[in-house]
Each structure stands twice: as structure tokens, then as C-alpha cells.
């Protein structure tokens, strides 16, 4: 019986899933950002963690992020199939069935949360569970198709990893952890809206209320500026805490000045000018925003590395 089904399915589906298709369900590019920010959160914490525990913690945080990615791909398969950028994802491409993505997402969620709890502490595991719930249920299932502020809300899920990394080491929350969360949270909207301005994806057709569609592109440009300005005190504030120091403060001031100048340039342009140079400024600001986050968290790391030599920190 099972043999005949297998033969039938082989005939029907020549694209039987490979190992890589399952890896793609976990959104490896997002996972790499999660690994980096969680690692920084863990390493800048004042309490050292045993290297084996640290490796395990980062792996399970990344696995939790991957699980929420699989749940997102299961839920959003209909949207993904419509948009060009996401149409080749394993579920809409027919390589992996929706049910498999759901199963993998649920199983990895459970494994990652339980294992993080055993490897580090219950608070870190609870935060990881909340992050998965927030991304899969609150963002993907509930608010993504309901409000044009979906990017802002979704950004919260991406902002948790450094906070979880910190809690893995210390066992408690603190101002530093909250500011690292706030840094990514405030950074996400200008980063994605800059992308939305020049990608022009068919969100409308997919039924996703993107700000560029619901409020117009002029309003999106203003939103980018406002969020970039709100990001400044958060970034500079983080540099003034125990994870910062003169080096981090200098990096924060330079990066934020650059980002604000870019946001002002985006705000002052209109579509005619932007079309004329093929969205050169929007593309440049988007690329810079990636560098911004990497350098900011890199600065925290450098500051922590300098401390044993009496150079870093306040």
C-alpha cells in the first residue's frame, strides 16, 4: 500500500524535497542575523557563560528563529505564491507540503525552547517561546494582513534575540537588554520601508496592507524619517550604558548622523526624482541600514573585547 503511494507520488512530484529545501524553510538569511545579534547580547553581558553553554544557547535561539520562519512559510504560502520575491520558497514552489512546514515549525519550536531552558535558564526559554508565538501568531496570522504598521510589529520579533542572549548569560532583564531590543525594533521600519519604496512588490495583489500602498509613498518617506529620528536617542542611549563606551558612542553618533542624512534625503525626494535616478538614494539608504546594524552591534562587541585591557567601557 505504502509502496504504491510512494510510486504514485514519485510520478506526481519529481521535485521531492531535498535536505536544502527543509533548510530553506528555516529562513537561513534571517537566522544569520539572529545568530549575530544574539551572540553579541550574550558576549557583552557581564556574566560569562561556559563556551559549550554559549554555543548551545546561540544554536537553540537560531533554531527557534528558524521554527518561526517555517511556521510563517506554512501560514503565508498563499501570499508567497503571489509575490515574485517569495514565489520560489519551498511551500509555494511545491517542494515541501504546507503540513510538513507546520510540523517542522511546531517540532523545532518545542525542541528549541525546552533545550534553551535546559542549557541556560527558564526566563531565556520563556522569551524564546514568546518570540516564536509573537512572530508566528501575532505578526504572521493576525496583524500582517490587518494593519500597515505590520513591519513595525514584525520588527519586535526580530528584536528579541540580543535580549535573549543577554538573559541566557545573566538570568535577568536589564536596561542594556531593553535598549538592544529597542535598537533593532526602531531600526526595522526605516530599513524595510526603504526597501518597499524601490522593490514595488505586488503587496496589494497579495492582500498585504503595506504602508506604500495604504498611505502612499510620500507618507512612507515621512515615516522613514520619523522612525530614523526616534532611533537616534535609542542608539546613543545604548552607547551610554554599561555595554557602551567612548568607542561605541563615537560609532553611534557617526552611524546615526549618516542614517538621519539619508532619511532626510529620502523624505525630500518625490517619485519623479526617484524614478529618474532609479531610486539610487533609497537603495543606498537600504544598503547602509544593513551596515548600520552590523557596525552598531560590532561596536558593542569591540567595547566588550577592549574591557579586559582597561580600554573599553565607561
Amino acid at each position: 500500500m505504502s509502496e504504491s503511494i510512494t510510486v504514485e507520488r514519485i510520478g506526481e512530484a519529481p521535485h521531492e524535497a531535498s535536505f536544502n529545501d527543509y533548510v530553506q524553510l528555516l529562513k537561513p538569511r534571517v537566522m544569520s542575523l539572529v545568530v549575530f545579534t544574539a551572540l553579541v547580547g550574550l558576549l557583552v553581558a557581564p556574566v560569562p557563560l561556559h563556551p559549550v553553554e554559549a554555543v548551545a544557547a546561540i544554536l537553540f535561539i537560531a533554531l527557534g528563529a528558524g521554527a518561526s520562519g517555517a511556521l510563517n512559510m506554512w501560514w503565508d504560502a498563499d501570499i508567497d505564491a503571489v509575490m515574485k520575491r517569495t514565489a520560489r520558497r519551498p511551500v509555494p514552489a511545491g517542494k515541501v507540503e504546507g503540513g510538513e512546514a507546520l510540523g517542522l515549525g511546531v517540532a523545532l519550536s518545542g525542541i528549541s525552547v525546552v533545550m534553551l531552558g535546559l542549557a541556560t535558564n527558564v526566563l531565556a526559554a520563556g522569551l524564546l517561546a514568546f518570540t516564536i508565538f509573537f512572530y508566528a501568531v501575532v505578526y504572521s496570522m493576525w496583524l500582517k494582513r490587518l494593519t500597515p504598521q505590520n513591519i513595525v510589529i514584525g520588527g519586535a520579533a526580530g528584536a528579541f534575540p540580543p535580549m535573549i542572549g543577554w538573559v541566557c548569560a545573566t538570568g535577568s532583564l536589564s536596561l542594556e537588554a531593553v535598549l538592544m531590543f529597542a535598537l533593532i525594533f526602531m531600526w526595522t521600519p526605516p530599513h524595510f520601508w526603504a526597501l518597499a519604496l524601490f522593490m514595488k512588490e505586488d503587496y496589494h495583489k497579495a492582500g498585504v496592507p503595506m504602508l506604500t500602498v495604504t498611505h502612499g509613498r510620500k507618507s512612507t518617506r515621512l515615516h522613514i524619517l520619523v522612525y530614523t529620528l526616534l532611533l537616534v536617542p535609542v542608539a546613543v542611549g545604548a552607547a551610554l550604558t554599561s555595554i557602551g563606551g567612548p568607542f561605541t558612542l563615537a560609532v553611534a553618533v557617526a552611524l546615526n548622523a549618516w542614517f538621519v542624512v539619508g532619511a532626510v534625503r529620502i523624505w525630500r525626494r518625490d517619485e519623479v526624482v526617484a524614478e529618474a535616478d532609479k531610486y539610487a538614494v533609497e537603495k543606498a539608504v537600504f544598503r547602509f541600514s544593513l551596515l548600520y546594524l552590523f557596525l552598531h552591534f560590532g561596536a558593542f562587541l569591540v567595547e566588550a573585547a577592549l574591557k579586559p585591557y582597561g580600554l573599553g567601557g565607561w
Binding site: I10, P14, A17, S18, F19, Y22, H50, V52, E53, A56
Partner: protein
């Protein structure tokens, strides 16, 4: 007598099985290493057996 050459789908399945095997192997190694670290530190270990525990006796 010759075996039929492996179909592409079997190669893909082999890759999938190999990948899963390596992941599970790595998981076992990680759990073992974590166990060693936690046991060596020995924080939550206290055997409530027939040994007198002075700290448990009220002064």
C-alpha cells in the same frame, strides 16, 4: 547481474537522510557536551540519601 542505476530521487533521499543523520549526531554530541559541563560544575547536585546533611539541621 547489474544493479539498476540510482534514480535522481534516490540520490536526493540519500542527501536528505545523510543531512538528518549529521544533524542528529551533532545534537547528541551537543547534549553530551552540555551534560559534561553541567555535571562537572555540579551546582544542582545533592543526593538526599543516608548521609547526614549539616545544613539541613535546624540550629
Amino acid at each position: 547481474m547489474s544493479f539498476r542505476p540510482a534514480h535522481e530521487i534516490h540520490k536526493r533521499r540519500f542527501g536528505r537522510n545523510l543531512g538528518l543523520g549529521l544533524v542528529l549526531g551533532a545534537f547528541v554530541a551537543l547534549v553530551f557536551a552540555l551534560t559534561v559541563v553541567k555535571v562537572q560544575r555540579g551546582e544542582p547536585m545533592q543526593g538526599y540519601d543516608h548521609v547526614v546533611q549539616p545544613e539541613a539541621i535546624k540550629q
